[in-house]
Amino acid sequence: MLKIEQVVAGYGRLTALKNIDLRVDKGEVVFVVGPNGAGKSTLLKTISGLMAPTSGRISFQGERVDGKAPEQVCRKGLALIPEGRHIFKTLTVQENLLVGAMIRKNAMEVRADMEMVLETFPILRERYNGVAGHLSGGEQQQLAIARSILQRPTLLMIDEPSLGLAPLMIDQVYSSLRQLNQTGLTLLIVEQSTGRIMDLASRIYVLRNGNVVLEDAPGNLANGNALDAAYFGFSDNAA
């Protein structure tokens, strides 16, 4: 579904991604984990069009998307919730959701989806006409997810959904992500910690210093040694 081949990307003279290969298949939940500065956020930015790769190709459902602007990429069905959620704090909850739905054509469907989203996240209905900046961190995360669902993406990318949230909130966010996946949404999630991802993940990539150092299914990583080794770079053979 999403195929990333030999992608190199960076800022100025600094290469943040050095030759990345990665794929996400339909219905999967793929995790990309790695320490700070591994290039995880850069990867998502590059896929979503916020950054253009210096070389390599990114294709989504058989179509090249690398080098396209984010507003074009999202119209192909690729949505990104960036790190820090980035809800529009001065807009109301309703307006946030409306911007989320802006690329949709069919007003009837949007209305039905809006109802579905408010059903899933009741707190948003409660705060519907309130300013989004007043929501708590967890509520903002829910709004960010709801907003992206209204885009009706085929693949949703999330940068560190658990960042800055209380443990209880993280559980909630993860359970809604699981629900979303069960309805057929494919997920590509970046996390810094490997703690909670095992039971949700279909496959895991470990990124370090801009390289994929490990790719495997969680079942094969059950004891966690290989994962830790790749994550912390105990054995450098993978690089």
């Binding site: 800022y11 100025g12 003279r13 600094l14 943040a16």
Partner: protein, 354 residues
């Protein structure tokens, strides 16, 4: 040898200036000498502006204020002893009724400009990056409004004439050299380096214990003094002082020179001012009309302004750091250890840009 190497960036700027001035003084026409003197005075101002803008990264619209304060202060002290009691009746009696010697007047005028910079810096430098930049504009407006309406002291929008004209090309050169050396010493001083660090990364520099406020404040005050010096030179080069010379248009010209040369290095400032002064002079003459072999042609008036603005935009779009790219002229024969240092600098700048 060591000092020669350390001061090379300055020497590489000053020596060519001296040679050019010598050639023009010996062989140039009167007009060429005039144009060059004016360019040198501009360079003094530009270096002053650079000491703040180039090191801090904060654009200032306000430096003409200090220029104006010094120019007027010098006019109050040295101008037209006969007319002064009538045309500037609002001056304090001891200034109004006396004429002061040139050098002390120049020094007190520069001091006054510096004091204004110091006081306004105390306030403005507390503001964040962008607010500080915009607020320098407020400073300029305040100065302009006050000077335009305080007619008993400044003659408002009229021109004060009859200042002693004593700035020669060599005098302007001497001031330029002093100011360039000063700017170079400042940018390599502890405060200057700190400020350049804050320019790259405000948050990080603050976190590493650099006092943003004080480093900005010191640069602002120093550059105010230098701008004041430019004001005095300008007044006694022209022999007149006119408020319209100290507003946005002239600020723009200097900013354009800084941008085109590259406002992150002293070399950029010198190259920018020299180049743009030369080009504008050629265009100015073209506006007046050239005649070649009996054919005369002229470009429409206003061409130099349009060319300047377009050049500046093109530089911003295609070569953001200006002609000099933010670099100084460096000692061309680096020893091994220096080469290592240069490599380290490169690595550091790569890391910064991430």
């Amino acid at each position: 040898m060591l000092i020669l190497k350390r001061m090379f960036p300055v020497i590489a700027l000053v020596v060519p200036l001296i040679i050019v001035v010598f050639v023009i003084d010996q062989f140039g026409t009167g007009n060429m000498q005039r144009v060059s003197t004016e360019a040198l005075v501009r360079l003094v101002f530009a270096v002053g502006l650079y000491m703040f803008v180039g090191n801090s990264g904060i654009l200032s619209f306000g430096h003409m204020t200090f220029c104006a304060v010094a120019a007027y202060a010098s006019a109050w002290q040295t101008c037209c002893s006969m007319m002064k009691p009538t045309i500037m009746s609002g001056l304090p009696a001891f200034v109004r009724d006396n004429t002061f010697p040139l050098i002390p007047s120049a020094l007190t005028s520069v001091g006054l400009a510096g004091a204004v910079a110091l006081v306004s810096g105390l306030v403005l430098m507390r503001l964040s990056f962008f607010s500080a930049s915009i607020s320098t504009l407020a400073l300029l407006v305040i100065m302009n409004v006050v000077f335009a309406n305080w007619t008993t002291v400044t003659m408002g929008n009229s021109t004060i004439v009859g200042l002693p004209v004593y700035v020669t090309i060599w005098g302007a050169l001497a001031a330029t050299v002093v100011v360039i050396v000063l700017a170079y010493l400042f940018q390599n001083s502890r405060w200057g380096l700190m400020l350049r660090a804050t320019r790259e990364e405000e948050v990080a520099a603050q976190a590493s214990g650099v006092s943003l406020y004080w480093s900005r404040f010191i640069a602002f005050t120093l550059s105010g003094f230098v701008a004041g010096l430019a004001g005095v030179l300008f007044a006694h080069f022209m022999g007149t002082v006119s408020l319209s010379n100290f507003f946005l248009n002239h600020t723009f010209i200097i900013v354009a020179m800084l941008v085109i040369g590259g406002m992150h290095s002293l070399a950029g400032v010198v190259v920018g001012v020299a180049l743009i002064s030369a080009v504008t002079e050629v265009l100015r003459q073209a506006e007046a009309g050239y005649s070649i072999g009996g054919l005369s042609f002229a470009v429409p008036p206003g061409t130099q302004e349009l060319v300047l603005a377009v050049t500046m935009l093109l530089i911003l779009i295609f070569r953001k750091d200006g002609i000099m790219g933010g670099k100084e002229f460096r000692w061309p024969w680096p020893a091994r250890s220096d080469r290592l240092a240069i490599e380290e600098r490169k690595v550091a700048s790569v890391q910064r840009s991430s």
